[in-house]
């Protein structure tokens, strides 16, 4: 019994978003597709935020989450994680639930530009923050450079870990932790891949970081 050595090869939830035609490219495009988002009132400031949120909340309560640039109003219990809010309530199923315990990275999203595990983040604590998921990286039909690089370098097999890998990789490059292959591997170690696509993931990140030669 070693709960800490989460083993991605020992089974787990199946990829629930298989592309219809079996093509990984379609999968990535679907995962990054644009959603019809409700137009919401202007977002509140940090100061207003504190004043507004300090009351004690019991049971389901209204909260506003800014996801991929749009404000979404939800009624959730405080125990709902950001991952569940995204997947179950906002139908943003790109972020994956691998372990639900912070051990695999499949749920990685950006909050105020920093990568975090959405499975260990309560949705209620992300009010007033900018949440970016895999669905928010592309500009319309134009893939984010990291998405394009993952396609080019075959940075995935089943694709289950991929949305988390890509979000994490975007942050990894922004943080500047891409000096060499070893540094990329160390700073991507929070994202497990049971298919073992690691060498291609490193190649994709290297290319985006501008250090690679562009060939895999």
């Amino acid at each position: 019994m070693h709960p800490d050595t989460f083993d991605p090869t020992a089974g787990g939830p199946p990829p629930e978003q298989r592309p219809d035609d079996g093509s990984r490219r379609t999968f990535i495009k679907q995962a990054s597709g644009i959603l019809g988002l409700a137009v919401a009132p202007p977002f509140i400031s940090q100061a207003e935020k504190l004043a507004a949120y300090t009351g004690k909340v019991e049971g389901a309560t209204e909260m506003k989450l800014k996801v991929n640039g749009s404000i979404r109003t939800l009624r959730l219990e405080p125990r709902v994680t950001l991952l569940d809010a995204l997947r179950e309530n906002l139908n943003l199923t790109g972020s994956k639930k691998g372990c639900d315990q912070g051990q695999c990275g499949a749920c990685t999203v950006l909050v105020d530009g920093r990568r975090v595990n959405s499975c260990l983040t309560l949705a209620i604590t992300t009010q007033g923050k900018e949440i970016t998921t895999i669905e928010g990286l592309a500009k319309g039909e134009e893939l984010h450079p990291m998405q394009a690089a993952f396609l080019k370098h075959d940075g995935f097999q089943c694709g289950y870990c991929t949305p988390g890998q890509i979000c994490s990789a975007v942050a990894c490059v922004q943080e500047g932790h891409t000096k060499n292959d070893a540094e990329i591997r160390e700073w991507m170690s929070g994202n497990l891949c049971r298919c073992g696509a690691y060498p291609n993931i490193v190649a994709a990140i290297k290319e985006v970081a501008g250090k690679g030669d562009g060939k895999s």
């Binding site: 019994m1 070693h2 709960p3 800490d4 050595t5 504190l50 004043a51 949120y53 300090t54 009351g55 004690k56 909340v57 019991e58 049971g59 219990e77 405080p78 125990r79 994680t81 639900d100 315990q101 912070g102 990275g105 990685t108 920093r114 990568r115 975090v116 595990n117 260990l120 983040t121 309560l122 209620i124 604590t125 994490s168 942050a171 990894c172 943080e175 932790h177 591997r185 160390e186 700073w187 991507m188 170690s189 929070g190 994202n191």
Partner: protein, 326 residues
């Protein structure tokens, strides 16, 4: 996960007030320990009080040394230039811990209060003296590869699993606390953690409702020449099998001061002061490092699956001391 009430504390007063009104409330920082254990039903607080807005921030140089606000994140402290240059063991202990995502979330205060990774503690299907006092300890005759060899009792043999506390305890860190009644006090980290004895459920001297506000670390030559060495089953993103935090002030080949602590071998972050005393005044040689390491592990009581830790810890200590001695 059970449901719970929630509030965001705008001030320490609100946070401690919420706790006084509801003794089953828990403070929420990064949530990477708390939510994990709540999902497992190991912890079931009635209310979470979000303390992330409290002003316990800043990584600053003071006349005495380093001051880190309790709400600072592991990632920011680990990559802070002052910490990296003057207190390398602290930076290393942070950057070798968990994952980049978890380090972005986890706070310094929460990190110090993380709970053991004993598999029985984390699984409510099993008895566990720490989780449910008096119910028994299945680890003693069960799966105990990750368990402690120092500071154990016949009630509990769980390790303190964290990295940062090992570096901080080596470098004489002091915790700054604020009680539920608003009273401030300071506790050397050395006096903060408890061995299990007959009360394995009590892990620290933190009072109920008390807040950690900051950690300070005195400046010293052995802090500048310090190192955190972590040995794991895999190259990254794993808890330590054993770890060592050491600091040496060597002048003209002679050790002027030494700091030695071990991680993941003790029921608490393990400072080895006898080993330090042995080193002071001696030459910085492998033979002396070996003698110090043997002394640090004196009295170790391994169990069925973790006898390997005795030698591994000594070798780790020697390697770390050699590295800082240059």
């Amino acid at each position: 996960m059970n449901n719970f009430a929630f509030q965001t504390a705008a001030s320490a007063k609100q946070a401690t007030g919420a706790f006084r009104d509801d003794k089953q409330a828990a403070y929420l920082a990064g949530g990477t320990t708390l939510l994990d254990l709540m999902k497992l039903n190991v912890l079931q607080p009635s209310q979470l009080v979000d303390i992330n807005s409290l002003p316990y921030r800043g990584i600053t140089e003071t006349p005495d040394g380093l001051r880190i606000g309790a709400m600072e994140r592991m990632s920011d402290v680990g990559e802070n230039a002052l910490v990296m240059q003057q207190y390398p063991a602290i930076s290393e202990s942070l950057l070798l811990a968990a994952s980049p995502q978890l380090r972005n979330m986890a706070s310094i205060g929460g990190n110090l209060l993380q709970r053991t990774r004993c598999g029985y503690f984390r699984d409510t299907a099993f008895p566990c003296n720490k989780r449910q006092p008096g119910s028994g300890c299945p680890a003693i005759n069960g799966e105990n590869r990750n368990h402690a060899i120092l500071g154990t009792s016949d009630q509990c043999i769980a390790t303190y699993p964290g990295d940062l506390a090992v570096a901080l305890i080596a470098l004489d860190a002091v915790l700054h606390l604020e009680s539920a009644k608003g009273k401030a006090r300071r506790v050397p980290l050395l006096d903060f953690y408890l061995t299990p004895g007959n009360t394995p459920q009590r892990e620290t001297t933190l009072e109920p409702g008390e807040l950690i506000t900051a950690v300070t670390v005195p400046a010293a030559e052995h802090a500048r020449k310090s190192k955190y060495l972590k040995v794991r089953d895999r190259a990254s993103y794993a808890f330590a099998l054993v770890s060592a935090a050491v600091g040496l002030d060597v002048q003209g080949g002679t050790i002027r001061s030494a700091r030695v602590a071990l991680g993941s071998v003790g029921t608490k972050p393990w400072r080895a002061q006898a080993a330090e005393q042995l080193l002071v005044g001696k030459a910085a040689t492998e033979a002396n490092f070996r003698a110090a390491a043997a002394l640090a592990l004196q009295g170790a009581r391994p169990h069925k699956h973790n006898a390997f830790k005795v030698e591994l810890a000594q070798n780790t200590l020697v390697r770390a001391l050699q590295d800082v001695a240059g």
